[in-house]
Subunit: 305 residues, 4 copies
Amino acid sequence: MINYQSVLQDTYQKICSEENTGEVASYIPELAKINPDQFGVCVKTVGGEEYGVGDWKAKFSIQSISKVLALSLTYNLLGDKIWDRVGVEPSGNAFNSLTQLETDNGIPRNPLINAGAMVICDMLISHTDDAKKELLEFINQICPDSKIEYSEKIAQSEKSVGYRNIALCNFIKSFGNIENDPQLVLDFYFHMCSLEMTCQELSNTFMFLVDDNFRSTKGEKVLDMQKAMRLNAIMQTCGFYDESGEFSFRVGLPGKSGVGGGILALHPDKYCVAAWSPKLNAKGNSSRGMKFLELFTSKTKSAIF
Amino acid sequence: MINYQSVLQDTYQKICSEENTGEVASYIPELAKINPDQFGVCVKTVGGEEYGVGDWKAKFSIQSISKVLALSLTYNLLGDKIWDRVGVEPSGNAFNSLTQLETDNGIPRNPLINAGAMVICDMLISHTDDAKKELLEFINQICPDSKIEYSEKIAQSEKSVGYRNIALCNFIKSFGNIENDPQLVLDFYFHMCSLEMTCQELSNTFMFLVDDNFRSTKGEKVLDMQKAMRLNAIMQTCGFYDESGEFSFRVGLPGKSGVGGGILALHPDKYCVAAWSPKLNAKGNSSRGMKFLELFTSKTKSAIF
Amino acid sequence: MINYQSVLQDTYQKICSEENTGEVASYIPELAKINPDQFGVCVKTVGGEEYGVGDWKAKFSIQSISKVLALSLTYNLLGDKIWDRVGVEPSGNAFNSLTQLETDNGIPRNPLINAGAMVICDMLISHTDDAKKELLEFINQICPDSKIEYSEKIAQSEKSVGYRNIALCNFIKSFGNIENDPQLVLDFYFHMCSLEMTCQELSNTFMFLVDDNFRSTKGEKVLDMQKAMRLNAIMQTCGFYDESGEFSFRVGLPGKSGVGGGILALHPDKYCVAAWSPKLNAKGNSSRGMKFLELFTSKTKSAIF
Amino acid sequence: MINYQSVLQDTYQKICSEENTGEVASYIPELAKINPDQFGVCVKTVGGEEYGVGDWKAKFSIQSISKVLALSLTYNLLGDKIWDRVGVEPSGNAFNSLTQLETDNGIPRNPLINAGAMVICDMLISHTDDAKKELLEFINQICPDSKIEYSEKIAQSEKSVGYRNIALCNFIKSFGNIENDPQLVLDFYFHMCSLEMTCQELSNTFMFLVDDNFRSTKGEKVLDMQKAMRLNAIMQTCGFYDESGEFSFRVGLPGKSGVGGGILALHPDKYCVAAWSPKLNAKGNSSRGMKFLELFTSKTKSAIF
């Protein structure tokens, strides 16, 4: 029987004893202001236990981790027809590359790179009355005891410098794979990325991809089992941009990272784990988060492979 | 408790009742001659049971599935330093693309695309006395009751038309990432791809990636647990060329395909499954094999996600 | 001694007797409304003669031909330091490709593709009080007896569907190679492309690249001889997108095309020729214009090679 | 009236007084042995005068300049059908890039990059009894008082390290755009590149692209006027790899460079000029050669633009 709390603490201390390498994401002014030494982890098990260490109850900008939540809501609403407009293949390129779109006629490789997430945002705008509001409700229904909000400050900060994302969205629009006004899509996209959560909230929220008995506050399953399995598969192959293979190789779990320094990973039968530390490695993933999770699955022998 | 034999038979019959779509690989003259309606599957469980259906005892050309075997031998010999010369990221490109090599200075994205497998072949040539012989011994030691051989006829047939592979190998050599004479490397590579096995032999051979207690005829572990887990992770993200994401998404198992129509897949705790049917889909993977495995993991609820 | 008027008429009649193939540019709604059978040509010689045929006095949207005019004004203002921010190499890609920018860190290959022209527009905005007004003044000073204007209707029509150009401009901005607000740059760019001129006006305007004695209405040389020669060299290698080589090969003159169906070409010692016919070939250049110019330089033996 | 000899000497002395920058091509062992300070220039005029300076009578490896000679022979033999298998567009890439071939299905962009020259070599092999012999005869017939030969030593040296070229040729073969055995094509290609000539011989040889009255020793025109004009156009846009635009921009003449440090350029009505100095700039073109020609056309006001 694994003593998660003790593994958590031992690993946390080991990582803290090493140099805190990497760089805080600097291209979004508001994100650059963060204290780079914050570090927290939370594990939630399928049995209902919860273990935390460090800054696991501090809010941070979950950034691209939110893409999985928007995708879950959209997948549930629209089913497998979403795959007509976005693929499920790893991209082999950086998170904000435009090159592949040119080859692929505006069909993003997968829904977890920026281009793909924008297409998902576009679908949500077309199929809801108020996409921003409904995404927030969806999250609060699967993470009930919390109050998850967008950070207007972060959203505006990203918008003010988001030239690459503006380029991406207009580029996809030029291929006809965005239905709505790019400005509307980008506004939703930047808000989605600005969501703030704690490690505790993140690991609780994503239990719907682990626990087949999970129900939202409305008493409903969030995704049926096949859809949940497919989301996990996409996170496994595409969750870490052009470091997805490396993460699979070292950590061996499906997961998703964000440039705010958060990483969410999960064992499909056992637990969710959320780690957060703002300094990023060269590929844009949390340095300490990656190291923590590699040690964690190694010690708990819980890689899925 | 799953009744594998009955799942195997039901699924097999269902697939056989549908049209046999796709095309036999035609670029290798010898492969093009095959009877396209052959179809077999074998499952070997961690408990030692073996189930088969159709042409599961017929030899076929395993082609790229052999890349995992050469990689296993090399990984065991040289350890993690092999990753200095080949990556672990999905390529996002077709199996024989040269484009990415130009961007990446001759470092192939992963060891399961042609370019990466050639670098592995080059390492084996440098670190063994007779690479062809030692690879064969390695395989026969982990699949003891059989006699696995190269097909000289297939190897020569591939060599006679293998311009793309000759280009790939010389291209990598031009970046300095091949140590030996390209002709030597290609000769070994074409022989490796010409290996002939049955579904039964394949599923038995790959048990070393499933069963931690597996021992070769020499009484040794083939790979330690971490290395085995990492090989599985690479198969998960890179085993099906630019359909790797799709395979993960639909089937949910680590695996590897070959243009001979074989697919090897495995559940890291439960079983190996080998399917073979020569007609390939547009991405170069066995059409019936893909369909079979999707139904199989769905019915047995044994995707790893 | 060449009888230009007779060559003009013979060639015009020959072309008119053949089918008018190709397609009018349809992506800009206002351009798509044009009568596709209009066709005019004007030749202006260094000796001052002027010859015209067909619709040579009808205004049309000169589109990308305007890039050479903005470039001339900027080159005159800023000199060779403009080449720090834009190259002089043919791109080998379509006119609105984003791929190469990613490889080249936001430095467009040359000033005659959309990306490069936007960087030139950005320079003009930074170095003039009112770029739109000054460009117009510049053109009217070198084409004195006319009234050249922007078409507000065309500019707005392009803006309404210009997603690819919005993407391009924001993409370059993300690399730091646009100084001003992308919306400002795009507004100027779309106006520049909306300029309307006749074949007569075009061939008169570009005489500053032919006749070393040419003076604007202010009594000044427009470009010194070396700069004029270099502009001609850039038109030769880059003036027709990925058909630049073909134009050089068939016509043998420096020139520039626009999606409005106009082509301006010139012999650096002899004449300017402007041809206009709205139907475009697959590469986006006027079909009849290309054919006319090939016959014209062949009959007059006036290719520069 | 231009005093070519005095321009030649003044420019030569000016260049010699500056540092001899760049690097000798080192990837071909035999080329790397050359004395890097050799420097010669020869001008041959349409009036029959000949002017030389420095090492203008020393033999050197003309390398890729030979591509224009093989192209001329092939163009004369086969006419415009050669353009079915090779384009006339600048490539926008380095001389030995494979990337574009993958996009373009094995059709090289133009006949002056390595890929295109190999396709031309393949055509010559198919349409002559002995391509090596006939190319040599062709050259000796247009440069009568000399004895032009292949350098067996250089050819073998290139073959021993020509992995990139072997890759290129096999890659094109894999698309079906090489008819003969790649080894045969490469043998001819390496011999062609090994041709040794002096500046004097080069400028005499290429007079057939300048002087419409030029006749070979067989009393024949080498190319009709239109074909000669088209060859010049291709040299203008494609003769200097990804520095073709720069050469056009600075020098303003059609030309072709070789990694042996030679540059051949010509004014289609006036003269041929051959310059040679082994040190190459970053794009693989002779540093001193480029500088010399820029000054030369500037002083003689003989750019074609």
